[in-house]
């Protein structure tokens, strides 16, 4: 990975919360195939994708499976960075990409600050976290019900679909223009 200078163009456009989020970390270039977080391992940092593409994958029954693809605006590995538990998926760059790498101190500082911009940033994260949780909950509920009601499933959970829902918990697509209240 290499470091780049600050991106002044990010000051225009996104709401203050998004800009504060970008400022809380450092922009780095990641080449295609670089791993941002590894399944089974802890990760101290989370990443905000500004350019490129990130894939979420997982080994299921011995086979690597692609579960999701994320574009610019995605927040990756936030859950693993916050609670320090190992990630249950792998996130890696699919193309040469640019991310804002947010270290634990940057994230904690952002959440603890009562500065207006930081408050907007923590609200932006909270809103998207809430929407992710609602979405994941709804999808999981649908999947569980299908498992019981679909005649050809006979109570068996579709594990790939469950893993895709799990992947969603690791990669949130942020809308920098969403109102932060």
């Amino acid at each position: 990975m290499t470091s780049e200078g600050p991106d002044e163009s990010s000051k225009a456009g996104p709401v203050p919360g998004a800009y504060a989020l970008l400022k809380s970390g450092s922009p780095v270039s990641v080449p295609a195939e670089a791993v941002l977080c590894q399944e089974g391992h802890t990760t101290p940092n989370c990443y905000f994708l500004t350019q490129g593409q990130i894939g979420i994958e997982k080994v299921i029954h011995g086979k690597p499976r692609k579960l999701a693809m994320l574009g610019p605006g995605a927040m990756v590995a936030l859950m693993a960075a916050l609670d320090g538990a190992p990630a249950n998926v792998t996130a890696k760059a699919l193309l040469d990409s640019t991310v804002i790498e947010i270290a634990p101190r940057g994230l904690t500082g952002l959440l603890a600050s009562d500065e207006k911009e930081s408050l907007s940033a923590s609200t932006l994260l909270a809103v998207h976290g809430i929407r992710c949780l609602r979405d994941v909950t709804q999808k999981l509920a649908n999947l569980l019900c299908e498992s019981i009601t679909e005649p050809n499933q006979a109570g068996h959970l579709d594990l790939i679909s469950a893993a895709r829902i799990q992947a969603h918990a690791y990669g949130w697509q942020l809308d920098p223009h969403s109102p932060t209240g």
């Binding site: 916050l82 609670d83 909270a126 999981l140 649908n142 569980l144 009601t149 829902i165």
Partner: protein, 187 residues
Amino acid sequence: MNQSLRQVRLFEAMSESERAGLARFMRERSFANGDTVCLRGAPGDTMFVILQGAFSVVVQGKTSETLEIARVERGEVLGEMFCIDPSPRPATVLAVGPTKVLEMGRDDLARMRREAPKSAAALITAVFREIVRRLRRVDDRVERELASEEESFFSDLWPEERGLRALTDGDVPTPWKACFSRIRGCA
């Protein structure tokens, strides 16, 4: 009021002054036994901290009977996500016995951001960490299922025969209603 907030798990990481700031923007409200607190599908933008009594979260069963799918007791919070991101209520909530709560709405949070930003930041952070905790529970639950050779998801998911009957016996409720209680256990 401050004393009551001290015992709420969601607010345990907040300092005394942050909780005091939060308390300024909450108001007490009382419900009689059976009162409807909110209806499924109605717009929701408030959270409730139970001081006394309890809330029963209910859905319509297969034969229009009311099924309790969760109970929110003294010291617990209901709807903390709604004052940050309003959304239709996913279930109906009824008061169980005489119930006293502290209520805070989205407008109160907006005011708190302007007048007590430290407390607002602490509350939003507390809710955010709770969301991450719940996402992790979903993640862990799916992970255990993927790792297990047995189909364990259902064995401890619906111990109540009633819930399972509602799912499998003809007219199936919407997935969301049917699974809410157990998903809520995960999430």
